[in-house]
Symmetry: C3
Subunit: 268 residues, 3 copies
């Protein structure tokens, strides 16, 4: 297991050294925060979303992240063009189906995107992953009403059906390629009181996907980095305001020792 | 008066316990901040704005907040659909006429929205409320050139004309249903140096409207919560950067004792 | 040189006293941050971007800032209307060609805007300025692959060609009207790890352009204010999260003594 920790730490260092360009077609709520998280982790964010240039941007970047949080007709068009282009170029893509299950429009858009091309990764909370896997689940807007533990079967079947790696965030993060499975037990309850940290996890996954070609490993490293930084940041935070700020600081300053002492990862 | 303080505190606790879903069709400047303020207060924000799904979102949520800060053709269409749907379902709605008085387009849109359906609440600064009430007032963009004190008559007539509760923010907040009136003397001058705290007050009002069916009481509780948290946060802030952060922390951690010692509310 | 420092400090005080209205048609990533930076500096931000009202807003404001970070068809239309109106009214305008060089759409849009009217100021990083000047340069998305030092010749030729003042941000900021040149040696490397501080510098330039009619002087004062505040803020920051917060606080509280002791400006 200490070998796995070493591998994850290597990926964290790779993001810092290579500073990959990560394209984010994301929602208006978190644009600033995901850009800042990518910068704090050492990557370089691009936040363009116009259909006129999105294919050029996919070609320029090392990974593409698609997030439907505040989807609209124009950005959905860009998402489709981007997903197709990334697939054609063999570049990694992350799909974050924010709020899947909440409305018909959201579900239909998620389906249409998955019909264009399989993304390399799908990352969401338990409710979103279960909705995509066709499991019936009560939705509470963009937050999940079910814990991540109950989504393991859905995550596996979704990964198999779309030949991708699925990452489910929650009290325990679950990562699966349909066959293998890994669990991350980091993070802090206070993270639910900062908007868009799930979206941040998706953006960070884009950065790790850009430097680690083993996609199962990339998803483990991204979730571990996010969980460890969130957990350390929460320790010294009075509330959600200081947590957001501390998260960027910790992402920027995280040392190998801090990481190794804090990370709790296991597989089966 | 200590009975009123107790009632307000009960509403604050209700928001934390019920964690109502609040839909925000709001401007791009404050999306992140209003979502974070709602989370810090204990509520659950939804920030969708596509016409294709907005009625489903209104039906899913306990309250709807409409804010024209960065209005455009697409979001105005969503605002109209949302206001009509909320009215049909008998769900509370908040209208924040940001920058009313600054341009013809802004004034015309505000009128069109009020023609669709009367919102449950109108919340703005003195200049915006006076503009909507038909009182001539010099506009300085989105900030008010007049103090809240001068807007009392306009607020009352606007509340009567649209059968709603009007909440005016300023050095003293004024809340009126056209007959009754209440004043909140909390807050801090530094709050004017953080963008969108008026928008945050509107979002917070959505959360209180979702848990308190007496709408005059809901508006008092929301303004008191906002003012008290802002005032406590400002005490320990070096400038507007720390104030924004501390505001979220205080919203999340506010105790009954802190609240009772700080709130200054009076009625007539 | 101490006379120049005094002149800059006077401009800083003028922004605080006059509190000019600054219109920003900017990208979705930084809307909140540039509004907050303008408020912290003492100015009043307007963030509207609908074509229906943009000319009214230009007329209402003392300066207009145009930033193509997340350009799309609708906002580009507004940018064109705004630039033309500002030119007609003889009001100062700032153009920030974010990501120029990254895509054909971005380059074409920059050209189209410069064909409408010459802005009073063009502010960007070295790569963007060199692209606009027609110098071939490798692009890395929105970040520059070249240092500011290599852009001096391009900046001068761009200023001459468009009869404007060009401000290049980098380790050393370069300001030129095509004939005169000034250098600011403030700032901190950590500023590159906070998203959109270049965009903030453009917004701040709008505020200084509104109070200082000598445009070469306005650009020097704006860059000096930004660099000094960033440098002081970075000293007490653990990482990019605290830097963003401290920057607003320092902008709000900066004293003449702090400014004079920190600023490093030289001309030739």
């Amino acid at each position: 297991m200490s070998e796995l920790k070493q591998k994850i730490w290597n990926d964290i260092q790779q993001v810092r050294e290579i500073s990959p360009l990560v394209l984010n077609i994301t929602n208006y709520v978190v644009m600033n925060n995901t850009a800042n998280a990518l910068l704090a982790a050492g990557a370089s964010p691009i936040m363009a979303n116009a259909p006129e240039e999105i294919e050029d941007m996919v070609a320029l970047c090392a990974a593409t992240v698609i997030n439907i949080g505040t989807l609209n007709a124009a950005t959905v068009e860009s998402m489709k063009l981007a997903l197709k282009k990334a697939d054609q170029l063999g570049k990694p893509s992350v799909f974050d189906p924010v709020g899947a299950g909440a409305t018909t429009y959201r579900n239909r858009t998620a389906e249409e995107l998955l019909d264009i091309a399989f993304p390399t990764f799908i990352r969401g909370n338990a409710g979103e992953i279960m909705t995509l896997a066709g499991t019936s689940v009560a939705s509470k807007g963009v937050d999940s009403t079910v814990g991540s533990a109950g989504s393991e079967k859905s995550a596996k079947s979704l990964a198999k059906a779309h030949q991708c790696v699925v990452s489910v965030s929650g009290e325990t993060d679950i990562i699966t390629d349909g066959t293998h499975i890994a669990y991350i037990d980091n993070g802090d309850q206070l993270m639910c009181r900062v908007t868009g940290l799930g979206c941040t996890a998706s953006a960070i996954l884009g950065a790790f996907a850009a430097v680690q070609s083993n996609r199962f490993m990339a998803a483990i490293s991204a979730a571990a980095f996010m969980g460890v930084c969130g957990e350390i940041a929460a320790r010294e935070s009075l509330g959600p305001g200081s947590l957001q700020l501390n998260l960027y600081d910790v992402m920027h300053t995280l040392t190998e020792r801090q990481f190794t002492e804090t990370v709790r990862v296991r597989g089966k």
